[in-house]
Each structure stands twice: as structure tokens, then as C-alpha cells.
Amino acid sequence: MLHSLTLAEATQGLRDKKFSSVELTKDLLERVKAVNPSLNAYVTVEEEGALKMAAEADKRLTGGKNVTPLTGVPVGIKDIFNTKGVRTTCASPFLKNFVPPYDATVVTKLKEAGFVLTGKQNMDEFACGGSTEHSCFGPTKNPWDLSCVAGGSSGGSAAAVAADMSFYALGTDTGGSIREPASFCGIAGLKVTYGRVSRSGVTAMASSWDTVGPFGKTVQDVATVLQHIAGKDPRDATTPPIEVPDYSKSLGAGVKGLKIGVPKEYFGEGIDPQVEKIIRAALKEYEKFGAKLVDISLPYTSYAVAVYYVACPAELSANLARFDGIRFGAKPKAPVKDMIDYYYQARNEGFGDEIKRRIMIGTYVLSAGYYDAYYVRAQKVRTLIRKDFDDAFKNVDVIMAPVSPFPAFGIGEKKDDPLAMYLADVFTIPVNCAGVPAMSLPCGFTSGARKLPVGLQIIGPQFSEDRILKVASAYEQATEWHRMRPNL
């Protein structure tokens, strides 16, 4: 049962020689074998590679040199991070056989810390979606209810952590792709400030939005992982030379006197009454800890989804133009007559429907005559949404709201209604518009027909990850939600 430990507990056990990394890794791989067939959270399992890395880690642990909290701890990561020698698919038919010749910077950092890679986790194709249903490997199931989605796009990573198949995981969040699945699967997930973590070697979706962040079973675990991946990277010019604080230092410090903004736009119409009740109860808890609730308004909230679905497809269509099936990626199976036909066929066979939709929207809004009317206008409204947050943070320390207006929905419920799927991100996208960090923290379960987790969203100003982690840990220490595990 080693797989049910938290990262902190696994680290301690390895240091105390209660078990070796090889033992821990074998136990986790057994868990993956037992549970993954019903959840479909991993798309690639690296059994041999993991055991080799674990043996290396054991040498390091025995020597006692260069030992970090991640040394010897086996985990999987979202299949969007390039891993040298390990297939990286982005859950797309285009990359089904792609083996990268280099590691993403975050993978290099984890390797330097001595981590053990157990495999790659399922996602929506090229991180486009909120349910992991747009994957060429089929959907990931929610560990709490197999008829429901795990959320997305980092659904495989969230489900793997919730189901004890990964001690932590890395995902990406462009419009909610860490927070929404964390909320749907009942674990902690952190979307960092834009630029806090390097994106070099992470397949780009929307470049002015993409972020990389950790999933964990506890706030402390999230803090530990962030400590190892945050910071400036010469290979990603958007990472500023802002100092990385000691994230564990602020944990458990209490929240007396903290001012929590409660934005009225995130409550009321469209929100599931059970979700609202659970979030309100969590806010009450914070009041008990000595924090003060302040009613605030973020007036441009209702425009965020529209901003996102202009700007993001525009950037995506440019980024995915590099997929031509020549230098890398699948060549078309259908016969082609010339080069241009090759492009059409490669991209027809290589991309799923959601990617095709987004490429076409992006191409449309960037085409001659429409650029100012759509893309530039969306960027201007984005400025107003940023200002909403800037103004709010003049009066409050953090903002709290639901992550999603509803808990995990049924598989197939929204798959063919793209707009309904987009609106699931209504409370996560504004945060990406403003580039600020935010966390999803388990804060209760729905009751009735489906027992599903609900996540509290804690939002802070840019580069205030330490504050968010501190505030989250106060709640976690007083509640038991993070200890709940699905029956699998």
C-alpha cells in the first residue's frame, strides 16, 4: 500500500530506509496495472525505464549526496512534456509515434532532482478541452465515478494522482486545464503565474496563456514540486528573473486578518446549488480562522470566455502550423499527389475535430480584415479583465470562488457541443486572462445521485504562489477532504 502515501511521506520513508525507491516504484507500477485499465489515466507506462531510474535513485539515497525530496519518488507527467527517448503524443494521432530527441526544461529539472518517471498521462489533444474526451486514446474516467469525466485537459494527471497511481504530477493550464481536473478529481492543483515555470519543451498551445504547474495530494506536496520547477530559464524568455521564494516556509502560518475577496460574478446564476453551498461553507471556515470576507466585483468576468475563444485559437492556429508531417509527426496514409496535398492530408488525418475547429477559428479571426475586429479587440478586453484583478487586489489579499460552476459531468454529455464545453471554464479563464496564479483545493463532495468532489479556487496577485499555498494549507490542516480516496 505504499502507493497511497503522500509525496512528503514517501520522501520520509525513503530517507528513513523504510523502503527503497525500487520497492516504492514496483508498488506504484502494480497499482497502475491494477487501476489504469478502468481509468485510462496513463497512455504510456515506462516500467523498465522507471525501475532503472529507481535503481539510480537508490544509489543516490544510499550515498546521501544530492538527495532532494523528489529523489526516488515515481510519478507520471502529462503527455505534453517532451521526454527524451520516451514517446510524447499530446494525445494526438499526429504524434502517436513521436519520440522526442530532448527533454523539456521541467523534465531536466526533475531528472536533476532524481525523480523516477513511470509514464505519460492522458489529456485532451494538444491540451484543447475540459474533459480529456478529445484524446486519441479515449477519455480518462473520473476515479470517483467512472461514468463521469476526469476534467481536462490534464485529466489523466489529475485522475492518476487521485487514484494513487502517481505521487504527484505535472500538468499545463492555459484556460483551466490544471484547476478544473484537480477540482473534478478532488486533489490540489496549482496554476502558476504566467512565466513562473519554464515552458521550453512543452508543446505550445496558446503562447501568451500557457503555464506549467503541479498536482499533488496535499498543499505541501504541491509546494515541494513547485520549488523544483519554478524559476528563470534561458530557453523560455517569458520567465522573469524574479526570485523563487521558499514555498514550504509559509505553510501553516495561519490566516488571521487575511482579507478574502468574494466576487459576486462567480456566484448565483448558472452555478450548481450544491457547489455554491460547499464553497460558501469553505468561506465560513476561513472566517472561523480569523479571515475577513469582503464582497467584491470583477465586472468584466462574463467576457473572459469570449476573449479566450478568440485569442487562444488565434495563437494555437499559428503554433500548430508547424505540424506538417515532414520533420516530425505522422505522414498521411492516403495517397497524395504533391506537396500541398501532403499538407492537407497530413493535417486532416493528424488532427481531431476540436483541433480542427480551433485552427479554423484562429485562421478566421486572424485573416485579412478581421485581425483588428477580433484578435486586437479580444486583447483589449483582456486588459480590462486584468485591471479587474489589479483593482481587486488593492483591497483584498486573495480572491476565493468555485473552480467550476458544476462538478464532473457525464462522459459524452458535452463532447459534441463545443460551446457548452467552453462555458465550463467560465471561472478559470479570467485568471489566465490576468496571468495570476490560482489553486484548486478539495473542499467537499456533492451528495445525491453522484458523490463528486468540489474544488475551492484561491486566486492571488501575480507571483504570490507562496501566499496562495499558505492560505490553502490553513484550510487543509483544519479539514479532512484531502484524505478522502475513491474506492477503486
Binding site: R327, D338, K380
Partner: protein, 96 residues
């Protein structure tokens, strides 16, 4: 409103092949998405600067030093097409 003809035109601009039977479906779906984003027109954006970089970074400089990113053989292994003289062999670009 995006028509099936427009879908075909946009797909052509994006060098994106579509299955004939999908064109109608995409026209309906893209129309509903574009109709939704029309709500951006309600917002007064006069004198508002566009956001293209959200943390305010500009002109990030680095030393102009040459560095080898990955070796040629490893990169050429990524293609599924035939490789000849360290070059990827593709279909003819100009056709009659």
C-alpha cells in the same frame, strides 16, 4: 454565420484537409462559437491598450552565443519520410 463554403475556404488557408461529411457540422459549430464571441462588441475599448504580454516583460536580452541544441542524427530520426544526404525527401513542390 459561417457557411460551408467559408469553412472550406478557411480550411484551405490553414492547409487543413477536411472530410466532406464534416463540413456542414463545422459550419454549424463555428457559427455558434463566432456568434458567442460577438459579445466582445458590447465592450467599450476606446483608449484601452491590448495585452500581449501579461506580466509586463519587454525586450528580454541574452548573449548572442552559438549553442548546439540537438544533434543532426537525432533530429532526422523524427521524420517518417526517407532521408537522403541528411535531408528529408518530400513530394514535389511545383506541379504542372
Amino acid at each position: 454565420m459561417i457557411t460551408p463554403e467559408q469553412v472550406k475556404h478557411i480550411a484551405k488557408l490553414a492547409r487543413l484537409g477536411l472530410k466532406e461529411e464534416d463540413v456542414g457540422k463545422f459550419a454549424t459549430q463555428l457559427s455558434s462559437i463566432m456568434e458567442y464571441v460577438e459579445k466582445l462588441n458590447e465592450v467599450d475599448v476606446k483608449n484601452v491598450e491590448p495585452t500581449s504580454q501579461v506580466t509586463g516583460l519587454e525586450n528580454v536580452m541574452r548573449e548572442d552565443v552559438e549553442a548546439r541544441f540537438s544533434n543532426r542524427e537525432d533530429l532526422l530520426k523524427c521524420t517518417e519520410l526517407p532521408v537522403q544526404n541528411e535531408q528529408i525527401q518530400v513530394k514535389s513542390v511545383i506541379t504542372m
